[in-house]
Amino acid sequence: MNGPHDLGGSHGLGPVAPETNEPYFHAEWEKRALGVTLSCGAFGAWTIDESRHARECLPPATYLSASYYEIWTRALETLLKRHGFVTQAELDGGHMLEKGTEPKRVLKADMVPAVLAKGGPCDRPVDARPRFVVGEQVRTKNFNPTTHTRLPRYARAKVGTIEAVQGSFVFPDDNAHGRGESAQWLYTVVFDGGEIWGKGADPTLTVSIDAWESYLEHL
């Protein structure tokens, strides 16, 4: 979707403002937000792609003014309600009112080291051979789905070069919407700055994205 999250190339958002000796957390609630978000991910009720899409669907004004832990928290509320784990009334009241969906698993403290060390690998085998080869010039497609995609707006309908075939991976555009993992080949595609930004682009700049096969077409 062409949402507030798709920020590459936007102007006017201010200086980067790096913070010297930045702490990992700026408030206690951020720690809890991290832990609650990861704990709820362990339910197995939604995928990382669905959770990313929930974040993208926040109202633009909210998204752009929120810290990232706030974005996570607001999106988590959406996911928990969508999948029947909590109700809005419970969130409003701050207490349980009814039993909700049973999760596949509950993350207990003793499970944390193994769960974090395992992560969630997204590589999946596919039968087909890659359609593109290293060194080949390709054009990214022009599309504007209202649903989840990982092809940023700035990199649509641009000519680039296949730099690497990275393996085959879960396709987020389908997986975010419960349409299955639909694994595809993934390519690193590199573009000249001038192809993306046109006149005035930094002549020393190249930008790469990792693009699923269906984002690309032969020239």
Binding site: Y24, R32, Y68, G119, F169, D210
Partner: protein
């Protein structure tokens, strides 16, 4: 703990509701309370997650990877070919580091990593991302004005240096291997790791010189 300053009842708050921080404090507390009452989360698991990222998984992991690559050509070659396996051999695996790619700075090319679409970051080697990495200014500008961004970090590259920006749009997580600073021939791996800053592994900085690290 600051989260205990306010009760759950919205009427006894003394803060202003236009303040995101205090609102978020209440919101996260409500979430944690409801989920705990339902038996869906274990507060001790949350403590364990926080402790892991406060004390165990941070940029020191990545610094050790870089220092080894500087001192061991065979490892550097492995890191180039199969970063996931090479990094796993040092014990760094897991969440947001499942699929790794190491990109090496050279005399004429500087690498910079961003996630324009969200906040993808190599947690297994760098820990939790800094706020600026996840915020709109960096995400919007790194791909269009990398030199302007780098200048805000105090990094001014030569005009002819090529800049390669890696937008983390999939599940590959990128680790920049900065160039080894001059005058470090006598240092061992642990001493070299002291020179490898978090920012140098994102590309918003360079490795420190031995003088600068003292």
């Amino acid at each position: 703990m600051s989260e205990h300053h306010h009760g759950h009842d919205h009427h006894d708050h003394d803060h202003h509701h236009d303040n995101h921080f205090t609102d978020m404090e209440a919101r996260v507390k409500a979430l944690e309370t409801v989920l705990t009452e339902k038996g869906l989360i274990d507060p001790a698991a949350i403590d364990a997650i926080v402790e892991t990222y406060e004390t165990k998984i941070g940029p020191r992991n990545g610094a050790r990877v870089v220092a080894k690559a500087w001192t061991d050509a065979e490892f550097a070659d492995w890191l180039k070919r199969d970063a996931t396996a090479a990094i796993a051999s040092l014990g760094y695996t897991g969440r947001q580091g499942e699929h790794m790619c190491a990109v090496f700075n050279t005399a004429d090319t500087h690498n910079l990593v961003v996630c324009t679409l969200c906040s993808c970051y190599p947690w297994s080697v760098l820990g939790l991302p800094p706020v600026w990495y996840k915020a709109p200014p960096y995400r919007s500008r790194a791909v269009i004005d990398p030199r302007g961004v780098l200048a805000e970090f105090g990094l001014r590259l030569a005009a002819e240096t090529r800049i390669r920006v890696w937008d983390s749009t999939a599940e590959l997580r990128y680790l920049v291997v900065p160039e080894r600073p001059a005058g470090t021939d006598d240092l061992d791996e642990e001493e070299l790791a002291d020179l490898v800053t978090r920012d140098s592994m994102i590309g918003t900085g360079l490795a420190l010189s031995p003088e600068a690290s003292r």
